[in-house]
């Protein structure tokens, strides 16, 4: 179980670096969504199902949609 959680955290770190460095904003949004999704699984394993639900619904679902709507109205490249 520890190995799986370590894997999740490593994925989060890689995705966060990708989101920070990527020039394509859509790419960065997808990487942010991946961070939130992994974070919600980690929260579930840490016995915090309430936070996991909020993180999955808001972090992985809504904020990505809002970012994509905003990119749609502006420019895709940084």
């Amino acid at each position: 179980m520890i190995a799986f959680q370590t894997f999740l955290v490593l994925v989060m770190i890689v995705a966060a670096l990708r989101a920070a460095t990527s020039k394509d904003l859509m790419d960065a949004v997808i990487a942010c969504t991946l961070v939130s999704l992994m974070a919600s699984i980690v929260f579930y394993f840490l016995h915090a199902p309430d936070v996991a639900m909020a993180e999955a619904a808001i972090g992985a679902g809504l904020s990505a949609a809002i970012f994509i709507f905003a990119i749609n109205r502006t420019e895709r490249q940084e």
Binding site: D50, A57, I58, L62, A70
Partner: protein, 239 residues
Amino acid sequence: MRTVVSLTLIVIVAIGVIVSLSQVPVGAEAARQEGRLDQDGVNFGRYYNSRAVEETGATNVVASVVVSYRGLDTLGEVAVLFIAALGVVTLLGTKQERKAKREVEQASLIVFTGCRFLFPLILLFATYIFAHGHLTPGGGFQGGAVTASGFVLIYLGCRGRSVGPKQLSATESLSGLVFVMIGLVGLALGGSFLLNFLPRGTTYALFSAGVIPIIYVAIGLKVSSELGSIVGALAGEGE
């Protein structure tokens, strides 16, 4: 000169606020005064875990902390979300200039039908989350976010349909009013804001825990209408 005067006034007001706030007991001091702290130190986590179910009747301890013990903070949190939604809607609410800008492409029949089929199921699931917030994990904020993702699905898959802004604002105001009114009724009946004045009922039953489920349903409706209006303003209504 004016700068000096205004700076002095700000300093005086700040000192007054600090002095009056330092009289209010918070944290460990408040617990010691109310006698719910054992001698060897602070442990609010242990206190809530051992006593919350019998004190509030809610089996989800997180719900009893969010709605009952820290209900006033939740009211502030919902107000912050309301102000954020207000800002987004005010900023993007001018829809006249964008009217002729782009032609909307309809989604394919499969996507359209799928979205129409899934939307009521998502709403049902969200209602389950916030109506059972006092029994199982989840609650008003989570249910509201799930409702808003259902709205996203409608805006993406069924172009041309939108959630009515008037209905959203009516729901938002009514649920906020219910939240504050319940708090005021508690103040009138028992002397403290958001007092749990209804009977606790049977633990694990749907209608239990007094005012907690009512407040959680109000929070759920309020959060879903606020997030829904943000999504509606960004996705562009009235195309």
